[in-house]
């Protein structure tokens, strides 16, 4: 199918060149169909995000190409991303949408990963935040009471040691909380269900899930929010999340409890995985050897899209009040975020082993 539309595209292009040379100089011709690979199943977070962005892309790209979403689930997004790495055409026809679970295995040296990010350019990165909350029966009414949690065992429904919860585990440990991870939750939603059943004493949700599902619990006194993970500002500093401006960040809570700023390898690891998993929660990539005029056209259109009031309005609902990162900024921050030094890697590897008996 791909080849078919490519052939079609090529023939249109060549006919177009012959007939109207002057017209071509004005605007870059994009393929009439763009295949957007989503390495996750239908209905999941990344899929819904892509399906929400797709019509806006169509609207803002030159020639209004059809954006077709190709779901290729498997291996927690590794399978589809590997395939994209092998097969994607660099004529602007193929783009990729990723999530934290695409970046983490790469950073942790998963042996199934056959992609690397040098060959791709990020076009757009959508950040997200996250909130940690606890059961009200623990007697905690805000992060100020965090000392009350000392010595209390807190079961936490989690997906896996190397998933999106990785930085959250690090934060818990730095705060000295006695977390008892219960793995095997198939989604963060299942983790929240365990919390609602009272099985889990502490839980964590990304911004949109917190707003849509956990806030109800908070308003009904069934959950107490402790802190947010905060967001990275332009200077790479972690500041309060605009979606939860009244909640302290992890750093503030840490300072309050210990009277100093968090530091050391553990905090470096936390910041790395926070940046990769949350600041770059969803990224659109394009193969780097795509002709530069096509990449430019994409970048221009995406900037245009970000200013489009219709997009902004939808984005508030679907993603939250976060600023998307585009252009060179995105590329630079991303490569910083996913580079793990050998020293840090050794530390994480031994931490996962000692904490979860998990071998990298």
């Amino acid at each position: 199918m791909k080849k078919l539309s490519k052939l079609l595209g090529v023939s249109i292009l060549s006919v177009g060149c012959l007939l109207s040379l002057p017209a071509k100089a004005q605007e870059v011709e994009l393929p009439s169909t763009i295949n957007w690979t989503i390495p996750f199943g239908v209905g999941g977070g990344t899929d819904v995000w892509a399906r929400f962005v797709a019509p806006h892309l169509t609207k803002n790209l030159p020639g209004n190409p059809t954006v077709v979403i190709k779901n290729q689930p498997g291996g927690g997004s590794i399978t589809g991303t590997n395939l994209f790495f092998q097969r994607a055409k660099s004529n602007g026809e193929d783009i990729l949408g990723t999530s934290a679970s695409t970046l983490y295995p790469f950073m942790l040296g998963d042996k199934r990963v056959r992609y690397n990010f040098d060959k791709w350019i990020p076009l757009l990165a959508s950040p997200t935040g996250g909130v940690v909350y606890v059961q009200p029966d623990l007697g905690v009414s805000s992060a100020d009471d965090i000392k009350k949690l000392d010595g209390v065992t807190l079961p936490f429904g989690s997906q896996s040691p190397t998933g999106l919860e990785l930085p959250v585990f690090l934060a818990f440990e730095m705060l000295g909380l006695d977390i008892k991870p219960v793995f095997g939750m198939k989604s963060r939603g299942e983790g929240r269900l365990a919390f609602e059943r009272g099985e889990a004493k502490i839980d964590f949700q990304t911004s949109s899930a917190y707003l849509s599902s956990a806030l109800d619990l908070v308003n009904n006194q069934k959950a107490v929010p402790l802190f947010s993970l905060g967001i990275l500002n332009n200077q790479g500093k972690i500041v309060r999340d605009p979606a939860f401006a009244d909640l302290p960040t992890f750093e503030e809570v840490y300072f309050k409890k210990f009277g100093k700023q968090p530091e050391g390898l553990e905090y470096t690891a936390y910041k790395k995985f926070l940046a990769a998993g949350f600041a770059f929660q969803k990224v659109i990539f394009i193969p780097a050897d795509t002709p530069s005029d096509i990449i430019n056209a994409y970048q221009m259109s995406i900037r245009k899209m970000l200013k489009d009031p219709a997009f902004i309005q939808d984005s508030e609902v679907q993603v939250g009040p976060y600023e998307n990162i585009v252009g060179i900024d995105a590329a630079q921050y991303l490569s910083e975020a996913i580079t793990v030094s050998p020293e840090l890697y050794t530390w994480i590897s031994s931490w996962l082993k000692s904490k979860f008996d998990y071998t990298l």
Binding site: V42, F52, G75, G184, G189, R197, E199, D357
Partner: protein, 654 residues
């Protein structure tokens, strides 16, 4: 109440009805074509969905999701291919009925049961959703574990005369299901460094391999029509309806059971059909015809699977946790329409919830009516000589398997599982037991560890756990035992029992082959897993123990009691399995569409001895079907060497 009626008013508007019917039609197509599932339907409806009025969009989505378990009955009954994971049990008796020439009867009974099941599910949903929240929350990991045990206990009823064969098959299913990431630690097991195995073998591939391919191969060996004995087709349709009305209590029980199981997130719809199937066996006085074409074996799972699809809306709408694959698609659609699941769906958005429920009921009725209209003409297919249908069915199976992960591994493991399936079919080992073990494997392991971690070892004292344990014993374990005892008490055993007894005491090389495969795999697995961490290896070791113990019991029985040796005539079947591998690789290497054309034509012309016109027509028909699927539903095929050229040629003709 006002919301309830205003929602009815709403769905009866022309706009709403039009979109609902569109959704139903797409859902039927998606259901009829095996392996597609909601994904393909979603990509077809999505361009319309965006920016739609939420209630209309929800109606359309509901139409799609609700009728998938209705449409999938066609291939289950007519070809022995489970159209989706929720109609695997339908194959057990549906296909034998088709073989008896009663396809129309089986189908019409199935559609009517689906309709009733769906409507009952909608009624249960409309009442239950208002109070469901605490009930759903009462099902903790401990109760969910007990429910997986409830599912597993079904094996007792399904293993026919030989409990140890059933146990061995079930244990082997549990072991195969343990391939991939361990839920409690995230570590990978038994992957043998094959990327494909990291996610485990997909259910679609296992289902097709264990049921569909062995049936097809045995029909090919016989080379007759599917319907081997002619039947008065004229009575088929009406007979099916009569069967349903004669078994209304079964329909009712299965529907209510199905919708309640669907309402509990985590268990999924893929076992509810087996549960109700064994329920039908246990509750019937004469269960000798099950598996050979008993209409109750169609009615029970078909009532349950539509009801289950309705029930699975409860966790989806209330908690945003989808209970099944189709529900996940529906949830994605809800989010795209800008509707957030949660408590607000029964407070501020109650009208939307009732729109969903009314659409659900209406879609079930419409879907079943559409299907019933097509039943007569389509069931005539079973009278065609089977070899003519073979290329079509094989293409459908490969198509379905490839949709699982879109890699060569889908074909390879389909063949591997099919080899096991052929042996199990040949030596009369209970294949459903294997499948149930496979389906419930990850749930059983996951919920077991979760309940220990959340509650310690006191979890089995929870009232819910005790209640389900009682249900297991009363509902599933006792009936087969009592029944057997009753049969033994009878002074004069029926002729059938005698036959069964003599059947039970046979042994063939195929039996030894299965024992060798299972024993060998289990031993390999044991050595392989020995050094892993405790939480990673505990569950596989339980599965391995079940397999090895049952095998020892079977073998010792062979030694202790006298068994008649029967010859195994599987040589021909195995030739077909090898042939399957060759052909499947051809589909992958040369291109799916090109190979479909060439293979179908050659097979029909030279093996099935069809005419040139017939062969060409079927081959071209298949290509048109595949190209259309590719274009309309964005389905991918292996491109191989020739497909790109073929497609560009086709393009130049259009």
């Amino acid at each position: 109440m006002i919301e309830f009626l205003s929602a009815l008013d709403q769905i009866l508007s022309i706009t709403h009805l039009t979109y609902l019917i569109a959704g139903v039609l797409v859902g039927l197509v998606v259901g009829i074509i095996p392996g597609l599932g909601g994904i393909a339907g979603m990509s077809l409806l999505l361009p319309f969905l965006y920016g739609m009025e939420p209630s209309v969009g929800l109606g359309m989505l509901m139409g799609l999701v609700a009728v998938i378990p209705t449409g999938d009955t066609f291939t289950s009954v007519l070809m022995g291919i489970p159209g989706s994971s929720s109609s695997q049990a339908t194959v057990m008796d549906g296909f034998p009925l088709a073989k008896k020439g009663q396809a129309a009867r089986a189908l019409s009974a199935a559609f009517l049961s689906s309709m009733i099941g769906g409507v009952v599910g909608a009624i249960v949903l409309s009442v239950f959703i208002l109070v469901a929240r605490p009930v759903v929350l009462a099902f903790s990991s401990a109760e969910l574990f007990m429910l997986t045990l409830l599912g597993l206990s079904v094996v007792a009823a399904l293993s026919g005369g030989n409990v140890y064969k059933g146990l061995a098959a079930c244990g082997f299913g549990l072991l195969i299901g343990a391939i991939g990431g361990a839920p409690a630690t995230g570590e990978f097991r038994f992957t043998m460094d094959i990327d494909y195995l990291y996610d485990g073998i997909p259910l679609v591939v296992v289902g097709l391999g264990i049921f569909a391919l062995p049936e097809i191969i045995s029909l090919l060996v016989k080379n007759s029509a599917i319907a081997s004995s002619p039947n008065k087709l004229g009575h088929g349709l009406r007979q099916g309806f009569k069967d349903v009305f004669a078994n209304l209590p079964l329909v009712g029980k299965s529907s209510i059971f199905g919708s309640l199981i669907g309402a509990i997130p985590g268990l999924g719809g893929s076992v509810v059909d087996w549960m109700t199937y064994s329920f039908a066996i246990n509750s019937s006085k004469d269960s000798s015809q099950f598996g050979k074409g008993d209409i109750r074996g169609v009615i029970a799972p078909e009532s349950a699977n539509n009801a289950c699809a309705s029930g699975s809306m409860i966790p989806t709408i209330l908690f945003g946790v989808p209970g099944s694959g189709a529900a996940a698609v529906f949830l994605g659609g809800m989010l795209l329409l800008g509707i957030q699941p949660g408590v607000s769906m029964i407070s501020t958005h109650l009208d939307l919830t009732y729109t969903i429920i009314w659409s659900l009921a209406l879609a079930n009725i419409l879907g079943a009516l559409f299907c019933i209209c097509f039943t007569r003409p389509i069931s005539l297919l079973t009278y065609i000589k089977f070899s003519v249908l073979t290329p079509i069915i094989l293409t459908l199976i490969l198509f379905a398997a490839y949709q699982a992960t879109r890699s060569l591994g889908d074909f390879i493991f389909l063949g591997v599982v099919a080899a096991l399936g052929v042996m199990m079919k040949g030596a009369n080992w209970p294949r459903p037991a294997f499948l149930i073990g496979f389906v419930l494997s990850s749930g059983a392991e996951n919920y077991f560890f979760q309940s220990i971690q959340f509650y310690g070892y006191e979890w089995f004292l929870r009232p819910g756990v005790i209640a389900i344990a009682a249900l297991i014993i009363v509902g599933f374990v006792l009936p087969p035992i009592l029944k057997r005892r009753k049969q033994k008490m009878k002074p004069e055993p029926l002729a059938q029992d005698k036959e069964q007894n003599s059947m039970a005491n046979t042994v063939s090389w195929t039996d030894w082959g299965i024992i060798a495969v299972m024993g060998g795999s289990a031993t390999y697995a044991l050595i392989n897993i020995w050094d892993a961490s405790t939480l990673t290896k505990a569950f596989p070791i339980i599965a391995i123990t079940i397999v090895l113990f049952s095998i020892v019991m079977i073998v010792s029985k062979y030694i202790r009691e006298k068994h008649t040796k029967v010859s195994s005539d599987l040589a021909m079947n195995m030739v077909y399995i090898v042939g399957f591998f060759a052909i499947a690789y051809g589909y992958y290497l040369f291109g799916f569409i090109s190979t479909t054309f060439v293979f179908s034509f050659l097979f029909l012309k030279y093996l099935a001895k069809a005419s040139y016109v017939q062969s060409t027509a079927i081959a071209i028909g298949l290509v048109v079907f595949l190209v259309t699927m590719g274009r309309v539903m964005n389905v991918d095929f292996p491109e191989g060497l020739f497909d790109p050229y073929l497609l560009s040629t086709i393009k130049s003709f259009i």
